[in-house]
């Protein structure tokens, strides 16, 4: 029955192979099949306007993804068989992986769950299918990261219980609450948060320069999974941009809602990425690019182009972008200083950067490093050399929204801590910034629910009243092994033995002095 009709073009053919399998239900109400599509106030008048962000049928998906996986696992095998961990630049580098595995990998799993959920929630079949593909991709990332780190876990400490730690450890509530926030929101906010603000606007900062840095530090396993994951990311980013344009084009009433979400999720993501700033500047012994340079390329330049493009929909750049741009000169230093003080409660080590590294920072941060941060490190190095490695034994005040300790400074006033507070229903809440306080004001009933790790410790909900018990028993951080200063740690001694050296505490301390 060869029809006389015109042959389908690629786009129409893809529609027949995806959304045309859907139909208008008549036995059940559409509202009952898709009950979560309306409550956020987003108005969708015509799902047929949805532009498929990519046209990948399942057969092609299986084929290309299998090819990627084959390449990836060949490298994992080679890395393990050749004890590739011995070829990294320095064992301090592994601490970035510890932060990655406990802070980022669980988010990949949460993303798998979140995209599965939205992959059912939308009544538009094209959007559902795109979300489902991202769901299974995210599962991939979660699993390949476990496999990439598996070998490191056999040779270094602090990588041994990531998901357990992610649910409990104080600083890991920053990424955990970020994703919980998105997953508990409605489907349109979830996509604005994760597909657009996070994937499209911000994750380049994590996956591109950091992974390039992993390569530069001899970590073949991580760079391979990182870049292999990014090859999926290109699809995810396209989805992120398409979804925003689609929502904005559907109805003008959507614009203010989306604008508020962009403001909120840009800021939430920026706060989350402050952890990455310190990974890049401090935890990569061989440095590729500073955080501030990465921010300029991947946010100011690329984000700038993006928001210029979105102007035609009535969208402006995120409300607190100026604060974020200003913070690029300080962020990594403020974070590292904080983690340096609280290493007794982390699954990774910290240290004072060596002399060459500090000189690199002076060069990359000419207006801020020597003035505000170098003296602090020199003081701490001296203290350490005299046997008084500084640890702060007072638990920090956490922000009610982003859950980062209130460690940031005011824009343009790098010696004044930024702090906001407000009362809500008789309780006082504390914030790291105007932006976080704004987010709270809009949805106080959500953020008062936050599980704040420090509060929980003080309330006795973490298996102990003192930090050491909490860290050891509740967090599963092995005291004296996973935590504290890098110099003299088991990882450090192990590394020296790999390199055929022995640990000399005096020599190491004078090396610190030189710093």
């Amino acid at each position: 029955m060869v029809s006389k009709n015109k042959k389908l073009n690629l786009k129409d053919k893809y529609q027949y192979l995806t959304r045309d399998m859907a139909w208008e239900p008549t036995y059940q109400k559409k509202k009952d099949i898709f009950p979560d599509e309306d409550f956020e106030g987003i108005k969708i008048t015509d799902w047929s306007q949805w532009e498929d962000p990519f046209r990948l049928t399942m057969d092609a998906y299986w084929k290309y993804q299998a090819e990627k996986e084959k390449k990836l696992y060949a490298i994992f095998d080679a890395f393990a068989q050749n004890n590739g961990h011995q070829n990294i630049s320095d064992a301090r580098y592994v601490n970035a992986l510890k932060l990655f595995l406990t802070g980022v990998s669980p988010l990949e799993h949460a993303a798998f769950q979140g995209y599965s959920k939205v992959g059912r929630q939308f009544s538009g079949a094209g959007a559902r299918v795109a979300c489902q593909m991202q769901a299974i991709d995210e599962l991939r990332h979660s699993q390949t990261q476990q496999h990439a780190m598996s070998h490191y876990n056999k040779h270094f400490n602090g990588l041994h219980d990531a998901a357990h730690m992610h649910d409990r450890v104080w600083f890991l509530s920053v990424p955990k609450s970020f994703f919980d926030d998105a997953r508990t929101a409605g489907p349109f906010e979830f996509l604005t948060a994760i597909s657009f603000s996070f994937e499209y606007v911000l994750t380049n900062l994590l996956f591109v320069p950091f992974m390039s840095g992993a390569a530069y530090n001899g970590d073949m396993a991580t760079v391979t999974f990182g870049f292999s994951a990014q090859s999926d990311e290109a699809r995810h980013m396209t989805l992120g941009l398409e979804v925003i344009k689609f929502i904005l084009e559907q109805h003008e009433d959507n614009v203010p809602i989306v604008q508020r979400w962009i403001d909120k999720w840009f800021w939430r993501g920026f706060r989350l990425l402050s952890l990455v700033s310190m990974m890049m500047d401090y935890m990569l012994p061989n440095k590729v690019m500073s955080w501030s340079e990465a921010w300029e390329v991947y946010y100011e330049q690329n984000g700038g182009a993006l928001f210029k493009d979105l102007e035609r929909y009535g969208i402006r750049p995120p409300k607190y972008q100026d604060v974020a741009n200003d913070a690029k000169h300080h962020l990594s230093h403020q974070l590292w200083s904080t983690f340096y003080q609280y290493s007794q409660a982390t699954n990774f080590h910290t240290w004072i950067p060596g002399k060459e590294e500090m000189d690199w920072m002076s060069e990359k941060y000419p207006d801020t490093f020597d003035k505000y941060y170098r003296p602090r490190y020199e003081y701490w190095a001296k203290e350490h050399a005299e046997g008084r490695r500084f640890y702060n034994n007072t638990l920090p005040q956490l922000c009610q929204v982003c859950q980062v300790p209130t460690l940031f400074t005011e824009m343009g006033e790098p010696t004044r801590l930024s702090h906001r507070q407000m009362k809500y229903e008789g309780e006082r809440y504390h914030f790291c910034s105007e932006a976080c306080c704004d987010i709270f004001k809009h949805e106080p009933e959500k953020y008062i629910q936050a599980w704040l790790p420090v509060h929980q410790i003080y309330q006795g909900n973490c298996e102990g009243g003192d930090v050491e018990t909490v860290v050891q028993k509740y967090y599963h951080i092995e005291v004296g092994v996973d935590n504290f200063e890098y110099i003299g740690s088991p990882d450090h001694k192990h590394w020296l033995s790999i390199k055929g050296k022995s640990f000399d505490s005096k020599a190491e301390k004078s090396e610190q002095d030189a710093a």
């Binding site: 139909w23 409550f39 049928t57 299986w62 939205v118 005291v479």
Partner: protein
Amino acid sequence: MSIEIKTNSVEPIRQTYGHIARRFGDKPATRYQEASYDLEAKTNFHYRPQWDSRYELNDDRRTAIRMADWYAVSDPRQFYYGAYVGNRAKMQEAAETSFSFCDKRNLLTRLPEETQKQLLRLLVPLRHVELGANMNNAKIAGEATATTVSQMHIYTGMDRLGIGQYLSRIALMIDGSTGAALDESKGYWMDDELWQPMRKLVEDTLVVDDWFELTLVQNILIDGLMYNLVYHKMDAWFESQGAEDVSMLTEFMRDWYKESLRWTNAMIKAVAGESDANLEMLQKWTDHWEPQAYNALKPLAEASVGVEALDEARAELSTRLKKFGLQSQGVSA
């Protein structure tokens, strides 16, 4: 605390992650184990879902089934993502060969118009059932807690999309890629009496709240009857109608279904074996849904291979369910 540093720097200090060692001991773990166990968040959730504030995120009360440990349900195929896509890539390669063989030799366009119509009326509308299965499995993947369970469902969900696409391509091959045959076939799905009980059943599953009930209905009861009826019994019948070449194009579905029995059987065995309460719940759901699945397929059987074939499929499902301690209305021949 003094730490003994091993002189042999290549000697591992531990064999696997702590959460894997707690389950399987500190010995080298398989890739399946490290990819599948205890990766999801379990506690200290920050906010209640705005789309369903009855429960928390990752809350195992979203089903009435109770398991002391949901990881008791695992995948006999040991599919983690890499193993899964590797396997499917091979299957699709074989399918691709068949499709291009059929296409090049015009095996479908050569069929009598009546036979083509039968394919469009009796086989191709199943693509819509597959999309329903895709949606249901996505929901389950989003709500099941243990990764061993959720990952099997997202794989299955994507498989169902793929199967729907293969069915669609049969129609595209018939109409020379214009979409006209797909439009015709969709018309049957929407309006032909034959399909209405099935379409109602699929729409009814789309409003099932309990995800385990949904996996039972979709992946065991409906598929248990449908795959057997369509891809085995009707396959033979199509052959008798002179459409034996179609068999090449549904080989993927036969292989796929045979493989899926491994995990669905393992899952129901673990869940039914956990407690009498679970078994009772499964029985209640089976009593409710199995007859509906049977009735939904009856017109399709009547229009093709005959209702006896569906009764046989029902008896086979009944024998399978009996192994888990479940009774159904099928009567063994």
